[in-house]
């Protein structure tokens, strides 16, 4: 138990250092940007008509004149107190914006994550255990094609088929124009989330399936599966193959949090789905540094959290670590 706690504490410290690194990297990259937030947001023409005082006030608002080191340290000290600053575009605290956006995105992410994980695992095991035969060829071929398909293009094609051609699903916007967020029913929300969720799941599927297939093939070739066959065992797939594939597959699944968030940026953009990914794009295009920094740090925290979960689960599920730790 003590061993496990030590392990967790060490991982947490490393995670904190990594988050610090992520925030500094993101800050430096944004600071290096030659794009002037004033010009991108207010426009050259509008700037020309303003008085110097107005321009100075705006420059203050967008933080143009403060030295970089001072701004970063200022950001860091308030971030440590739980304040990520104020979004320049939305004029609301960054945490509030992220909270709202994440609440919209989270169902999409969780659904796609779970569906692509479960389906990918099943297809991967099926292909790996029938290696070289038609289920394997079919699954592997389909996965390679899906893997090569840009997720945003897939989103466009699905939109064309279901919204334009068949007219069964809406084109975009999870809130109808003119309505407020509260006025939409759950059903409407679901209706708007179908295509994004589907696209996101399909985008995540080939990675999981192909990886699981490789793992399954390795396990099928292992000495212990050979020995089980030599002993005339039945249900080898269920008893030996699946458990041994499940462990690495689970690690991969928790480590893939970043990928699914990455795909959601694109998919949300195509479907005008007002989630975290879309906010990241708006913040990037509009030079909203506090919001982009906040989104980067929060998603990195989610990714590291996923990795930590995988490490801890491994310790619980793998007897080599569970018993090994108990002995030491």
């Amino acid at each position: 138990m003590k061993h496990r706690l030590q392990f967790t504490a060490k991982k947490l410290v490393r995670m904190a250092l990594l988050l610090l690194g992520v925030s500094l990297t993101a800050f430096l990259l944004m600071d290096a940007s030659p794009l002037d937030p004033l010009r991108t947001n207010i426009g050259q023409a509008a700037l020309g008509t303003m008085s110097p005082e107005q321009v100075a006030r705006l420059e203050d608002y967008w933080g143009v004149n403060t030295p970089a080191a001072e701004r970063y340290l200022g950001w860091l000290s308030s971030a440590l107190r739980g304040d990520l600053g104020v979004s320049l575009l939305y004029r609301q605290p960054v945490l509030t914006v992220i909270g709202q956006r994440l609440a919209v995105s989270v169902w999409l992410l969780v659904f796609a994550w779970a569906l692509s994980g479960a389906l990918g695992l099943a297809l991967g095991v099926l292909a790996g255990s029938r290696r070289g035969r038609w289920p394997d060829r079919l699954i592997r071929g389909t996965c390679l094609i899906l893997y090569s398909t840009p997720s945003f293009w897939l989103a466009l094609v699905l939109l064309m088929i279901f919204s334009v051609w068949l007219r069964v699903l809406p084109i975009g916007l999870s809130v109808p124009i003119g309505g407020t967020a509260d006025s939409v029913t759950l059903l409407e929300r679901l209706h708007h989330a179908v295509l994004p969720a589907l696209t996101l799941s399909v985008a995540g599927l080939p990675g999981v399936a192909l990886h699981t297939r490789e793992k399954t093939a390795d396990v099928m070739d292992s000495d212990y599966v050979l020995f089980s066959r030599a002993r005339g065992e039945r249900g080898i797939l269920r008893r030996h193959v699946v458990p041994n594939v499940l462990l690495p597959a689970m690690t991969l699944q928790f480590a893939s949090v970043g990928e699914i968030i990455g795909s959601s940026v694109l998919v949300e953009q195509v479907f005008s789905y007002p989630g975290l990914g879309q906010a990241a794009v708006s913040a990037g295009l509009g030079g909203d540094m506090p919001l982009l920094l906040g989104i980067t740090v929060i998603t990195a925290a989610l990714v590291f959290g996923g990795n930590l979960t995988a490490d801890l689960l491994y310790g619980v599920l793998d007897p080599r670590i569970r018993r090994g730790a108990a002995k030491g």
Partner: protein, 272 residues
């Protein structure tokens, strides 16, 4: 059983030919790709314009080919740069050990911690978007997995008896690296490089699509697809469908080659 080496070689030759055709025709069609002609706007795919035309009468086939050639060039450049970074950091990490190793593995974790799209977006912003922004972004995001592979490979090679023997015989380190390490690393590195290609092309297109990559006046696939979004509801399916399909086909070709090479080089599957 099929001879996998022969079919892989065939695939490689086919891909190289196609690659040359696309890159050359793309470069040759650079003018047609941006040429507007309002007498022939919004044509669905037909005989002279196989991919149709857009609202400015631009030939979509020319635009697609030019876009693909741009994508492939950016992909090749970024894959090479990220492979170089991976080789440098991976070998440094394995050969020097100690704090260098810790630093590199920390950097790898750092880069893996930020979703790729987000990191490319940030790097591209730092470079002021455009061609260099997206190239730097993709190159700086894709090295970690390959660096890990190189590190593991070098660590394993260092333990190899023949290398130990060469070292005992007093072979100078740079000769050791050139004559013994590099030949063993090269196949792995090449496969890694080719496997990076699909990722690189897809990410370039994605980031350009989002508006952080190549500028709108370039006939990039990302730009073409972004523009097509406005005409979806109008039923102009060819604007999005065909260029995207071509991109997917090009990426699939590279993914297939990478997969084949990986199978041939991996000892577990080399003889199948």
């Amino acid at each position: 059983m099929k001879n996998r080496r022969k079919s892989t070689l065939l695939l490689l030759i086919l891909a190289a030919l196609l690659l040359c055709t696309v890159v050359l025709s793309g470069a040759a069609l650079a003018r047609q790709a941006v040429e507007t002609d309002f007498t022939r706007k919004n044509l669905a795919p037909c005989v002279p314009f196989l991919f149709g035309t857009d609202w400015m009468g631009r030939d979509m086939l020319a635009r697609t080919l030019a876009g693909l050639s741009l994508s492939i060039r950016v992909g090749a450049l970024t894959a090479c740069v990220s492979a170089a970074i991976a080789l440098a950091l991976g070998t440094a990490s394995a050969a020097l050990g100690g704090w260098v190793d810790s630093l590199v593995s920390w950097l790898i974790d750092l880069v893996m911690g930020i979703p790729h799209i987000l990191l490319i977006l940030l790097v591209s912003l730092a470079c002021g978007r455009g061609l260099w922004g997206v190239t730097a972004g993709v190159a700086l995001t894709h090295w970690p997995s390959l660096a890990r592979l190189v590190r593991a490979e070098v660590l394993q090679l260092r333990q190899a008896p023949w290398l130990q023997a060469a070292r005992r015989l007093g072979t100078p380190p740079e000769r050791l690296a050139r004559n013994h390490l590099l030949p063993h690393l090269l196949p792995q590195l090449l496969t890694g490089l080719i496997l990076q290609f699909p990722h690189a092309i897809l990410h370039e297109a994605s980031v350009t699509f989002l508006g952080f990559g190549l500028p709108p006046d370039q006939p990039a696939i990302g730009v073409i697809l972004e523009e097509s979004m406005g005409y979806l509801a109008a039923g102009r399916w060819w604007l999005a469908l065909l260029p995207g399909l071509s991109l997917a086909a090009a990426v699939l070709l590279f993914a297939l080659i990478g997969e084949r090479l990986r199978l041939l080089l991996s000892p577990a599957t080399a003889q199948e």
